[in-house]
Subunit: 336 residues, 2 copies
């Protein structure tokens, strides 16, 4: 186990890398803690929740909605939760998003911690304080930015992670590589999904590298005024597709990255499109689907990244170098 | 008009005292602004909203709930609101609470301003950044603390304010006097509701005195770690009664203050109970109602002010001197 503390603008988060969930007993008082998880994790790893008051959510992005938040709040009231209650989200991005959001608004804010159980949540979703819920087809339309007091990594959760979720995680890892880390991109080209699944130190190193990368970006720009926007690479089209076509987050982002790479060729003279496509496909992710252009454009236009008419699109100048490029929505429409 | 800027921990708020709502055109771009108000204000003062995109809410505390928030968010999406949209709440405490809460969570936070239209909102509810909604009978169970960028006072809204709402405002003014301002309490003893309604400078002075008082308390303790808790005087029992018995906020607080005054006699040797009761009644407010002790106690136990078993009750040492007094819920039960 390795403990490292990172400061954000209003608070600090303790990271426990390569840890075990049993450590939770030292971080939280079971009498003053409520754990949130989902039915899949609870079914697969139920033993880990013994001794903790646990609220079990239905699993899946379709439950990342206000109705789930309402239900958790009613359960917290029933459980007699107060301002000193700690909420701990044990799960993937949906669980950590709902946990962070509920904790931000329940009694005007209580403390919370995360135990991410998916690769995606470990390297990305649990880090940075962004939380939120979807509104209809609009992803993360409602939420806050607030940091957890701790994040604990227990890779033993990955032993029961479905294959599709491994791919989801790699979509964000590929994204990190493309926007800022050419060396990691080459490593991804040389390795493969099964190699990372088999070699635990290779995997741990990759997880930490990506978690630290995300932490650094967030520390520099917590409220997304600048560089943090780069993390939206692949997410503008990705979000517009995800809920409309029932895609996994990683699939949607992968298609979004392939699209952004081809836009980059037109607007930034980006050349190595084939290397991008090859790596996306190598990690079992799609690079295109057929969709209804007008439907997708309608959702895309309402993306949070729009400001005063223009979309802030993330494009690539080269592998490892993402840039923000404002584009009129009409221009994007032509490329869809 | 008098402009004064006050800094809070994360942001500043511009106060425009003795102003007119027409000033709004200088503070906000109509093309990037959405105004929230309620049907009563819109019916009584509709002209003031001309030229502004306006969402009209149903009036009343029973609409300070998540369903209203959901509906406003859907309307904002429909209107094409984005992160640069400004939300302006024109109304009483329900409108400003809903506005502040929606703005805090829509797209993870957009800017907002207030034009309080009731005495209560001018002297209290609109100030301090606390916003939120009720969950069933539990008042303000969900919300955030986030400051508006401006607060604009236009007393011409008070010309159509119903009598009951004048009394609501005076409940909070009496509260301010009791916990911190003995001189203002004597002024309240000497004057009357109709005197304040008739003499506009007397009223303006009182409004500003109370607004500045509240600003000062919030500045010193924005996140309610200390002195801001005093503002909960009368509110613990008040909140437990308000939604269960369909009381006006001011009525509930008045009954809560009378109750807290009698607790103060027992726990703090507080003597002048009669002066407290007399002033409450002078401003047309009740000092008691009949209620079901056990029902009220059930709600009271779940109040946000409870921490680790004890209730933080606000009591009086003398007129103008409130103190925080932790009490076991059982002790309170005996006095109900």
């Amino acid at each position: 186990m390795q403990k490292r503390t990172f400061r954000f603008s209003n608070s600090a988060t303790d990271f426990y890398f390569d840890a075990r969930i049993s450590l939770l007993k030292k971080l939280a008082d079971p009498k003053k803690t409520v754990v949130l998880t989902d039915e899949n994790i609870f079914a697969a790893q139920g033993k880990k929740f013994k001794g903790w008051t646990t609220i079990v959510l239905k699993a899946g992005e379709q439950y990342k909605v206000q109705a789930t938040v309402d239900s958790v709040i009613l359960q917290l009231i029933e459980l007699g939760a107060d301002r000193s209650t700690l909420l701990v989200g044990v799960g993937g991005g949906v669980v950590t998003d709902v946990t962070g959001y509920v904790a931000s608004v329940f009694m005007r804010g209580i403390s919370f911690g995360f135990v991410p159980t998916t690769l995606l949540a470990m390297v990305d979703a649990s880090i940075g304080g962004k939380n939120g819920i979807d509104v209809g087809v609009y992803k993360n339309m409602v939420g806050t930015i607030r940091q957890p007091i701790f994040i604990l990594h227990d890779v033993s959760f990955l032993t029961t992670l479905p294959e599709a979720h491994w791919k989801n995680g790699f979509a964000e890892i590929i994204k990190h590589a493309l926007i800022k880390d050419a060396a990691m991109f080459r490593q991804l080209e040389q390795n493969s999904l099964s190699a990372y699944q088999k070699k635990s130190t290779l995997l741990s190193t990759l997880i930490q590298r990506n978690a630290l990368f995300k932490i650094k970006v967030v520390q520099a720009d917590e409220f997304e005024m600048g560089d943090r926007k780069l993390l939206n690479f692949g997410h503008t089209l990705g979000h517009a597709l995800e809920n409309q076509y029932g895609l996994q987050h990683g699939e949607a982002v992968a298609i979004g990255m392939a699209f952004a790479a081809s836009l980059s060729a037109s607007f930034c003279a980006f050349k190595p499109i084939k290397r991008v496509i090859d790596v996306i496909e190598k990690y079992g992710l799609p690079v295109a689907i057929s969709y209804k252009k007008d439907d997708v454009f309608e959702v895309l236009k309402k993306d949070k990244k729009k400001e005063g008419g223009e979309m802030n699109f993330v494009l690539l100048k080269s592998i490892g170098k993402g840039i923000i490029h404002p584009l009129p929505p009409k221009e994007i429409y032509n490329y869809l």
